[in-house]
């Protein structure tokens, strides 16, 4: 219950923000942070609650973005319809990848690397086949109207991403308070013990990767609507995968607020360093990278784990 109130508070708080903040920088900052939080939360569903580390979540992101683009440009769907589709398509892709990888019992580094490879395969395909616009990428025309899911101010987009994030967080809350979630975490912590009391690990993992993929897909669709242009390396390149997993891990795996905290911390960090040292190319990223290491060194359980007892710092799930 407390968590639900928290989510509500977040929704209302951010929802009212535009009344007090006009600064485009801050609105944009909030929007991009929520966006990063959505990526992280999506990754967290599979990585944090399911213990399955993916290095290729860009796969789902890319499918979402391209679905959004193709549905509009080639099938003439309304962007809102496309947005809905994007999540389902990516979820289905998740099912496919999961069915393959989990059926053959891949876990740990093996699962991580296979996801990486899947993302890369589809990046190359996207570069090579015509209906994705190949290397030229896809650009949706600039038609700013709510019905067209394009807003003249970032505020509109901020509400869209807020809605998506809240949905992701509600799902996460559900994971913490449902049979499915309990089973998922049981499988993460100990597959054998879980089986002994009636859990089917394969089905549970499938559910998780589908959910995770769906939200990643919505994030991709959102990206396209905001920046209007997508190309294979933006869609399937490693950058998005890394952004998602770093924020999730830094924030705290398998927690409700971790991904948001992680995204916030990392965005503050990168914006700060960029604005302070922008004129010395490189040093900002040096500081960013060092901070990443320092955070891991001192918060092994992530930012959300600060409150936890010492013993819990050291125990907990295995990758």
């Amino acid at each position: 219950m407390k968590s639900l109130l928290g989510i509500a508070a977040l929704a209302i708080g951010v929802g009212l923000l535009p009344l007090f903040v006009e600064s485009g920088v801050w609105i944009n900052f909030v929007m991009m942070t929520l966006y990063a939080a959505l990526l992280a939360q999506a990754w967290n569903i599979l990585g944090g609650f399911g213990g399955q580390f993916s290095f290729g979540h860009a796969l789902f992101f890319g499918f979402g973005a391209y679905t959004q683009a193709i549905a509009q440009l080639q099938w003439g769907f309304n962007p809102w319809v496309a947005l809905t589709m994007a999540g389902f398509v990516s979820g289905a892709v998740g099912l496919g990848v999961g069915a393959l990888t989990f059926r053959y019992g891949l876990k740990g580094s093996y699962f991580a690397l296979v996801t990486l490879a899947f993302a890369e395969v589809f990046r190359i395909l996207a570069v090579s086949v015509p209906f994705t616009g190949a290397g030229v990428g896809m650009m949706i025309p600039l038609k700013e109207s709510v019905s067209n899911l394009q807003f003249e101010s970032r505020v509109g987009f901020m509400y869209v991403i807020l809605g998506l994030l809240v949905a992701a967080m509600l799902v996460t809350w559900w994971l913490q308070n449902s049979k499915f979630g309990a089973y998922l975490q049981a499988v993460r912590d100990n597959e054998y013990a879980a089986q002994a009391i009636g859990v089917n690990p394969f089905r549970v993992k499938l559910g998780a990767i589908a959910l995770s993929g769906a939200f990643m897909g919505w994030a991709g669709a959102f990206y396209l609507q905001v920046f209007q242009y997508i190309d294979p390396s933006i869609a399937f390149g490693p950058h998005t995968s890394v952004e998602a997993l770093v924020a999730a891990i830094v924030g705290g795996l398998g927690t409700l607020w971790g991904p948001l905290l992680g995204a916030l911390a990392l965005h503050l960090l990168s914006d700060l360093t960029r604005n302070l040292f922008g004129s010395l190319p490189g040093i900002n990223m040096v500081i960013y990278g060092s901070m990443l290491i320092v955070i891991v060194m001192f918060l092994p359980r992530g930012i959300a784990g600060i409150g936890l007892s010492v013993t819990r710092l050291w125990r907990g799930k295995r990758g």
């Binding site: 485009g24 920088v25 190359i124 290397g135 190309d231 960029r274 004129s279």
Partner: protein, 400 residues
Amino acid sequence: MTSRRQFVTQTAAAATLLAFPMVGRSQPAPVKVGVIHPVTGALAYSGQQCRAGALLAIEEINKAGGIKSLGGALIEPILADAQSQPAVGAAEIEKLNEAGVCSVVGAFASAICLATTQAAAKYNLPHVVDVGVADLIVQRGLTNTFRFGPGYTSVAELAVTNLAELNKSAGNPAKTVMIIHEESLFGSGTANLLQKSLPQVGFEVVDVIKHANPTRDFNNIVLRMKSLNPDIVIPANYYNEYALLVRTMQQQKVKPKAIYSVLGGAASSYKFIKEFPDASSGIIDCNHWYNPKNPRSQDLKKRAQAMGLFFSYELFMTYTAMTLLADSIDRAKSVDREAILQALMSSTFSSHIMPYGPTQFINGQNIGGRPLMTQVLNNDIKVILPIEYREAQPLFPLKS
């Protein structure tokens, strides 16, 4: 370490620029201009070259007494880093807008320009695109976006007509063409255009090969080239891959009648010629190029080299974009964005170092903008076409 020295001098230059306003107390308020480029990440080199070009222009303008119509107000560059990501570029525009810039110059790469111009449009913030050759940039009806240089369509078209011309004057020695391009927007876009238009002027495109950035090894591409044996090879890619490709051709003893690049990443780069005199010799390029007859371009070149920088197209393209903007601000007689937009739209800017026709912006594109044909001849880059800028006779076909 020269590299470190370069780095220091460059940032020092930036620092002094930023210091200017404090120096002159009596100065009117400085004119803030956003300079946004991908100075870190994959595109860092080009981004930093661009930034250097902008800073050189601003230094020159400020030394010459700033913006006259604003009582000699100095230009204060607000630097921004797009980190080679469109999303970051867009975020940086927001930052520049809050910093109160009256206009923006940037952002080298097409994908980033798409994001920054659109973000700037939300604030009616004038955005001069320095390089960004993708035509999408100026085809979206954004009223704040202006590109002084040519887009790849016009470059490709000109390249094709010029190639036909060269070939005809040499007695049509060349029939077949092979296109090698990098897989992203710029390479693929250019390649598509060439593929369409080359047959119309009587060339047969025997193969089009796309490659990733980075590509570790060009031998198999060159071997393919060897077996298809095209008369002309047309590369459209970035510096690293271009350099590797040409070197590999030399290693594999593949000598087509011409290497005829379109916006070639290295073809008309002094860096490349310096490092690989043999591999580069004879290469023809249809690319952004300065007016060799204009003395200003020569001393700009010297200033750049004095800072340990190569005089690359990124540098003088952004330099020019910056001077164009300064001119418009001067004519606008204000830092009001709308006024600057008007000034840009009506600009007939002529005191620049580019070999362009009369400046006229239509839907944000300067129709006067055009590339030149250059060829690497005895370790220097010489203009071969059009005639009015010709420095040397073209060498075509290459005798081998």
